[in-house]
Amino acid sequence: MKFLASICTFFLTFSVFCQDTQTISFQIDTSFETEPASIDVFKGYISNIELTFEDGSRYTDSNGYYLIDFLDPSTTSIEISTGITKNISSISYLLGTDSLINVSGVYSGDLDPILGMYWAWNSGYINWKLEGNFKDEDFTYHVGGYAYPNATMQRISHEVNQNATEKIVITIELIQFLSSIDFSANSMIMSPRKEAVNLANSFVQYFSIRE
């Protein structure tokens, strides 16, 4: 792994092979100044990104696990060196981490458990965290769990109908998502369980590429 990483850095430095890069960035659809919401924490893993090109060929970013702090614009873009210059027709990715990563011991980088996105007592990554207040209701969601029946990672796919394929912008309609939640039933979710799966299922419907 280390070897591959060092080789890639090496190639990048000399720009011999990694000619093309793809940037994928995430944005929240609204400014909270005008909304009845305050968001304290919104972080999550994006992983297993797969790009499909116009001719049907694919690029899989299989070793990429990106911890995104959606509130910090300096971390909301992911840059992938594909080495491919074709137009992209669709993109898919996991919101969360795959199960293999959850059962294989310790990892470094964005997966380093010191980053606070790991449960020690019930091993596994927290796929995403969302904490704040909406319409005077406090909520804390730490959504994780990798094993059936409480697996919470979600694959999200989008068609990409644009020729400018240098940057893909994915929008998260956070206010609409928060509006859909019954806070009286579930304002705190912090362990792998059915409610977490339901919340994750619902959340991914609010990810889209805006035309």
């Binding site: 060092s6 458990p113 010191i114």
Partner: protein, 333 residues
């Protein structure tokens, strides 16, 4: 010229890489003859083992420098907390479970009495951060280690990086704890035909195979599974075991099926340490109410043992004592 530079840079990076593998090394946990392959498949080196051992015995990993891992996991008793039903950690705060033995962990596919931890490397976060155990944070631990020139040297030797981080700290712990292998008990020597059981031990072994071996499987004398063994819940703790992890009703009151190796010295017994002697344990198993709904399947047929049977069975269980393991100076600070 440019081409030459390019090639020599490739050469250099390959050289650097191979130097690094030399530091990391390619040793791993090997299965004693007749054992299954270990679950733990990480490289283990002398430098990693020595570092992990130093961490294991270092009380500065706790919030106030008062307790180390070894406080509750003493080498002489199979790395458990002898005579403590449930263990006490920092400020003498007590937990809710009996500290488990650390024996042949490389063959475990999960850890803790409830199996909540799925990899040996990830286990150590729990006692370090638990308020009733060491009550520290991994961030503090990493900062403490980074402040120690001695540790930094040891991390460099073990991982080729003197900047301490959490992954390498956990890896070192993993290497030490995975190396705690007990495979030289009288039982093992009998299996290798170096010794013979006494007639009492032989009878005890037969009784063991008939009544206990379905769950406590040879040669590790455990299984990586969970069972409800009919113990009534202790209302001081209301510990429902594996259910806490899975949220599956049928997992309520299920606990790990632990190894019986070195059981002579690892008292008290059961997940909450409620029994002080092996005799009490056997008395429990012969008195189980087999009509209980949550009881695990192998226990639904009654276990019948006479007084003499129990003595013989205990004499067999004592053949699982491995003095070489318990008194191994390599495992001590």
């Amino acid at each position: 010229m440019n081409k030459f530079l390019f090639l020599s840079l490739i050469g250099l990076s390959i050289l650097l890489y191979s130097a690094q593998t030399e530091i990391i090394g390619l040793g791993s946990i090997r299965a004693p003859k007749g054992w299954p392959e270990p679950v733990y498949n990480r490289p283990v080196t002398d430098a990693g083992f020595v570092l992990g051992k130093k961490l294991f015995y270092d009380p500065n990993l706790s919030r106030d420098g008062s307790v180390s891992c070894a406080s509750c996991h003493l080498s002489f008793t199979g790395f458990t907390h002898v005579d403590h039903a449930v263990s006490h950690g920092i400020d003498d705060r007590i937990g809710t479970r009996n500290s488990p033995v650390l024996i042949n962990l490389a063959w475990n596919s999960s850890f803790h009495w409830d199996g909540g931890v799925n990899h040996l490397e990830m286990q150590m976060i729990n006692p370090i951060e638990h308020p009733n155990e060491m009550d520290n944070t991994m961030k503090n631990v990493v900062a403490y280690l980074n402040n120690s020139p001695e540790y930094r040297k040891m991390f460099f030797k073990a991982f080729g990086d003197s900047i301490v981080n959490m992954p390498n700290t956990l890896r070192a712990f993993g290497q030490f704890t995975a190396s705690l292998i007990s495979s030289n008990s009288i039982y093992d020597q009998v299996k290798r035909k170096e010794l013979e059981f006494s007639s009492q031990e032989k009878h005890g072994y037969r009784l063991f195979r008939k009544n206990c071996a379905e769950c406590h499987r040879e040669p590790l004398f455990n299984s990586n599974e969970f069972a409800s063994n009919g113990l009534p819940i202790d209302t001081n703790y209301n510990d429902v075991g594996r259910f806490l992890i899975t949220n599956i009703d049928s997992d309520s009151m299920q606990f790990r099926i632990p190894t019986l190796r070195n059981i002579e010295f690892s008292r008290p017994y059961m997940h909450d340490g409620r029994f002080g002697t092996l005799r009490e344990v056997l008395d429990h198993y012969t008195q189980i109410d087999v009509t209980k709904s949550h009881l695990s399947k192998p226990l639904k047929k009654p276990i019948i043992l006479s007084d003499n049977d129990k003595k013989d069975l205990i004499s067999f269980l004592k053949t699982l004592t491995d003095k070489e393991f318990l008194y191994n100076p390599r495992f001590r600070p």
